[in-house]
């Protein structure tokens, strides 16, 4: 409907608004240079949003993950095919499998082929996080070929791995320092807790449509 387009633009151009220049008001959300302060705020924010945060280090990661999977009685887990910590994830799984039966869905096929399984037969999905935002206790997910979008969305639990060194102060600073405008991927998702809703009588309930559990494993790497 190009005629609609032209009619809309004709009306907009006709108004000929006086163009306003960039505002001089600076936006300074919460910020800190202290790594301990960043970490504390990050954990506090996520915890307040009902996420569980476990702290570990790279060396102990597979043990932490293993214990988590066993304690939560996750028996069916979806994982990606790559990422910096992929080998630790694989190792943790093999550790679990020594003592516990564990079905693994490796997300290496088209979504159509694993959709039903993801929806119906998976307890948890494991993904990396690109960055953490301390201000609001937020994970930044940057899904790609190796960790598709639905891995963190469809399973009822999401286990998110994040390295402490990636935590930044706030969202605004993050997109500026990483110059996001030059490299937007198909999808970026900011996650700040498990899925929730207050749509019924303002009563907070978790697990609306996304994962009802969010477990964040914070890896000390500094």
């Amino acid at each position: 409907m190009s005629s609609s387009r032209e009619a809309i633009f004709a009306r907009l151009r006709d108004a000929n608004p006086k163009v306003k220049t960039m505002e001089t008001i600076a936006y300074q959300p919460w910020v800190s240079n202290e790594t301990e302060v960043l970490k504390t705020r990050f954990i506090d924010g996520l915890s307040a949003s009902h996420a569980e945060v476990l702290t570990t280090n790279r060396h102990a990661l597979n043990e932490t993950l293993k214990t988590l999977i066993i304690e939560k009685q996750f028996a069916r887990i979806a994982i990606g095919t790559g990422g910096d910590l992929h080998s630790e994830i694989v190792k943790a799984i093999s550790l679990v499998q020594i003592t516990h039966p564990l079905n693994i869905l490796q997300f290496d096929v088209d979504f159509a082929q694993c959709k039903s399984q993801l929806f119906n037969d998976i307890d948890a999905g494991i993904t990396h996080c690109r960055v953490g935002i301390a201000d609001t206790g937020t994970l930044v997910l940057w899904p790609d070929n190796t960790e598709p979008r639905t891995l963190s969305l469809i399973p009822p639990a999401h286990i998110a791995l994040i390295k402490r060194s990636t935590i930044v102060s706030n969202f605004a600073e993050l997109m500026v320092t990483e110059a996001w405008q030059n490299k937007m991927p198909t999808n970026i998702v900011l996650v700040s807790g498990p899925s929730k809703t207050a749509d019924i009588q303002q009563t907070l309930a978790y697990g609306a449509h996304g994962p009802s559990q969010l477990v964040v494993i914070l890896i000390e790497d500094m």
């Binding site: 387009r5 306003k20 609001t136 979008r149 405008q181 999808n187 207050a198 019924i200 309930a205």
Partner: protein, 491 residues
């Protein structure tokens, strides 16, 4: 408005289909429903408290509102250019862009996409613009089923009802009423007022629907011109589901939602969530820049963006009323409005209720239909005080009242329904008032007369005295008293 089955207020009083033309009756019916009033008062108190906590630092609140206003004004001042930039960046990213002047065109665009894919099921994330075009109703005529997946919208849809709040659609119902709704419409549902159980019911019923839907439809909170990115704000995850699981994603939004830079997003997002629900951030912030790219294993194969005018260009053409388009749809104006708090969202008979509804609906539907809405405000200013982008809502109401009463002038183009509330008797009364007020001798004769006939003023003055005693003038006016006391008079 819709001819759909939604033709009653929540109190069960059946009147005509909800429409702004019937505002007086609808408001009266709502006021007479104590449960409804209690539900709204409770909800509004909750949301007001949450917002207050989120802006506990008053200086910061002021700062972020000033900035948000400035960003929205800048983006609107460049709107045509930004829309072109958005369009070209979206196309480069593989997003198909469509333009609709009105609801009919928007529905046609969506119907065409659906029919091309032979789609029968559309799963929807929350979108007020889709309400604006009555998408569900129009698609149903074509045999296409639209299913709401936002919990509040789902509850409302089950009842053939409409959202009564733009952020919390089912706010007019309490948990017992939600249980009743589920019991009436869902098989194998055991009534409960446990909110977790109610939500789990919604979740489990909708889970299969996400898998089966041919198309996912969503709104847009911010469309970023410089990158061609669509941003969605939500807590439930249904928005992510709708935009990720089905093969086709259609996003629909008003043309005013565009922002210039990615860096415009964080402050507006923060202002939005804090104002709407008092959250520092929502659970999910979803940034979509393209359909599934080469090598990616999930996400929609097609993404469409439908940009709707539907009266927005009318508001845009007037410098003062353009501010209406600054709105980021947080709903804070409703939460703080003493009128909305008492009558709820349905009484307005418009898609957007409350203060923002009163100033945007006239552009969408015309003043002839909405003239009673623009007067339904005491101009108390509570809305303008909390608006995160500082829309001077009371001033917009004043302006629309003037447009409803008077013909267009050379300075301002005619708007839909211009002068539709014009009244010769009222105009005569106002002219007489102005004449008297600019001719003190006559004016004071009037005041003097009022004091003389004070005993004769009827105790029934219609609307005023339905809950108040008639006002009684003093025995002498101040003017008379001052003359008598020889106070200095410089007239």
């Amino acid at each position: 408005m819709s001819q759909s089955d939604s033709n009653s207020l929540n109190n069960g009083v059946h009147i005509q289909p909800l429409a702004p033309e019937h505002f007086h009756q609808q408001a009266k019916a709502a006021l007479a429903d104590p449960q409804l009033r209690q539900n709204f008062r409770g909800a509004m108190d909750y949301l007001k408290d949450k917002r207050k906590l989120a802006f506990s630092d008053v200086a910061e609140e002021k700062h972020i509102r000033n900035l948000s206003e400035a960003i929205r004004q800048r983006c609107l001042s460049k709107l045509p250019d930004l829309l072109e930039q958005l369009e070209s960046n979206c196309i480069n990213n593989g997003i198909q862009v469509h333009w609709a002047e009105d609801a009919i065109q928007a529905n046609q665009i969506i119907a065409d996409i659906a029919q091309r894919h032979n789609a029968k099921e559309i799963i929807k994330g929350k979108s007020m613009v889709s309400e604006e075009i009555e998408l569900n109703h129009e698609m149903a005529k074509l045999g296409i089923n639209c299913l709401e997946s936002d919990m509040g919208e789902y509850i409302v849809q089950l009842d053939g009802d409409k959202p009564s709040h733009i952020i919390m659609p089912a706010i007019h119902k309490n948990k017992q009423e939600v249980s009743d709704t589920f019991a009436a419409h869902l098989d194998n549902f055991t009534p409960t007022i446990d909110v977790d159980e109610l939500i789990q019911t919604g979740r489990s019923r909708l889970r299969q629907k996400f898998q089966d839907a041919d198309i996912g439809l969503s709104g847009v909170n911010f469309a970023v011109a410089e990158t061609g990115t669509l941003c969605l704000v939500e807590n439930e995850g249904n928005g992510r589901m709708c935009t990720t699981v089905p093969d086709v994603h259609i996003a629909i939004t008003g043309i005013e939602k565009v922002v210039e830079f990615l860096t415009d997003v964080p402050p507006l997002y923060s202002a939005l969530t804090r104002s709407a629900t008092g959250q520092a951030i929502t659970t999910y912030f979803n940034m979509i820049t393209s359909p599934r790219r080469e090598g990616e294993l999930d996400g929609p194969q097609e993404v469409h963006l439908v940009l709707l005018d539907n009266g927005r260009t009318q508001a845009f053409q007037d410098e003062e009323m353009r501010k209406t388009l600054q709105c980021i749809r947080c709903g804070a104006c409703m939460n703080h409005c003493p009128v909305y708090t008492r009558i709820g969202g349905h009484a307005y008979g418009t898609v957007y209720p409350g203060p923002i509804g009163k100033i945007i609906s006239p552009h969408m539907m015309g003043l002839e239909k909405t003239k009673d809405l623009v007067t339904a405000s005491s101009l108390c200013g509570a809305c303008g005080e909390v608006c995160p982008v500082k829309i001077p809502i009371p001033e917009m109401l004043q302006r629309l009242r003037n447009e409803a009463k008077n013909p267009a002038t050379a300075a301002h183009p005619e708007i839909k329904g211009q002068a539709s509330a014009a009244s010769k008797t009222e105009m005569l009364a106002m002219k007489s008032f102005a004449y008297a007020a600019t001719h003190p001798a006559i004016y004071h004769l009037g005041s003097w007369s009022a004091t003389k006939v004070r005993g004769l003023i009827p105790s029934k003055l219609g609307a005023w005295t339905q809950c108040r005693s008639a006002p009684k003038p003093a025995s002498k006016t101040l003017h008379q008293l001052l003359k008598a006391s020889h106070k200095k008079d410089q007239s």
